[in-house]
Symmetry: C2
DNA sequence: ACAAAAGTGTTCCTCTTACACCCATGA
DNA sequence: TCATGGGTGTAAGAGGAACACTTTTGT
């Protein structure tokens, strides 16, 4: 197997999902183990870029292969370019695995957000991938732990400024789910009354009139994300006469 | 001249400075013009990465060459990876200029912030580089205009969340200078009373007791940036019970 | 009846905004 | 004395933070 590459640039994707309780990330096992590089070692999904492909295209290809989904929310984070980020043994493995020859691989980190559901879990399980609690991950191959940490940090920054939370939830969701998501991603706890007030008064979600069924408590209403209101809100962001959201 | 490169990855830097009135960026002229690629074409300073160099190291090298300064504030922005981002003619020029052979160049954008002063202006002028009003730039070679726009947009986002404004000002500065900087970078106007109140009550600047001299108006006091207070403020950012700075 | 999560209001306080005049200096 | 930017205060309103109980459902 030889993939034609024109330069040793790869992409690695931290694919995040939310199971209602915790933030998960998709990990795969090393294929083609050699020597003491075990097939049990976990890594982020990634690939070398192809000749006629941009980096986001490569990242989308990785996502489609690993989740079966296209049109996933995708965001570039940092570049990892330390000349020694891949040690000699790992370098051998990479060259063998990808069918290339190179002395150095620069990788570009991405994070992706998917709406976790049974279909995806089935698909990824068939592929041998697993969804792992982000908090519980202690080691990954090469510098993938660092790439993951960087992706998580970028996600945390972004989730409070842009409406990416909705990329991690089903189309219809309860306010409680939304709140739990913020709590899981940011590692904080949020007052429920204030949260409802803020999110409802912002107008970016709309009630559907549908309610949970077969739950052993008062059924919660389902809401929808309201893109148009959000876009309007973004336009109004630079208000009249002063700086918003100055966080010094 | 042959620089050894192990892959066609380059860095391009938007070096920003502030002259007290306007945001400036450092542009250089194309060297070694060929055909109708003129020596008058303007570009961002950039370079191919060397074999044993990380990307930030390459960017710092570019900065040191173009400004004579080290220890400059430097921040990575986006990656430009369209396979056709460099047309054939430009590709010829790149290969000739850098003494390499490649079919494709992926470039990584950086922005840098420098404290503009006579020394730097002299240095850059000797090098044939110029400081140009960011607003006035209409075209640059290849996709450098896009790289610049991306850098500016990253700077605008960052300046309201982190204390990078001080990287663009002299060590001692007046509140008016600081305000003008925000106005220039963000393209807004700010109420002077509110600005003073906010910046002074934050405690991140300290008065020096020194005042302007030889100005034909009431002399303004000079202030210093107070790093330690700022770092403390950052730690307090995640407050007790709710999400800060939610901008939906 | 009980367990479990949904849903709801008010008060206090801080921060944002809008706005206009006198001061100190050099020319 | 004039031109220039420096420097100051206040009031009204919006939004953030803290806080506890009732409702609805399934078991």
């Amino acid at each position: 197997m030889t993939i034609e590459t024109n330069s040793a640039i790869s992409v690695d994707c931290a694919v995040f999902g939310f199971d209602g309780k915790r933030l998960k990330v998709l990990l795969i096992k090393r294929k083609y183990p050699i020597d003491d590089l075990s097939a049990e070692d976990l890594k982020l999904p990634g690939a070398m870029i192809l000749e006629n492909e941009t980096l986001p295209e490569a990242a989308n290809r990785v996502l489609e292969e690993s989740t079966g989904l296209s049109e996933i929310y995708l965001k570039q984070t940092s570049i990892f370019s330390a000349p020694d980020r891949v040690n000699e043994k790992e370098m051998d493995w990479i060259c063998k695995f990808h069918g290339i020859r190179t002395r150095r691989v620069v990788t570009v980190g991405y994070y992706a957000l998917v709406k976790l559901n049974q279909g995806i879990v089935n698909y990824t399980t068939r592929k041998g991938a697993t969804w792992v609690d982000v908090d519980s991950i202690r080691s990954l191959i090469m510098d993938h732990l660092e790439i993951l940490a960087d992706a998580l940090s970028a996600l945390q920054k972004e989730i409070i400024h842009t409406p990416i939370a909705f990329e991690l939830l089903p189309r219809k969701f309860t306010i409680h789910q939304l709140q739990s998501l913020f709590e899981a991603v940011l590692g904080i706890s949020i007052d429920n009354r204030n949260f409802r007030k803020k999110i409802l008064s912002s107008g970016i979600i709309s009630p559907t009139g549908e309610f949970e069924k077969n739950v052993s408590h008062k059924p919660a209403q389902y809401y929808l994300f309201n893109k148009s209101v959000f876009r309007k809100a973004m336009k109004d962001r630079f208000r009249l006469n002063f700086i918003n959201n100055w966080t010094y």
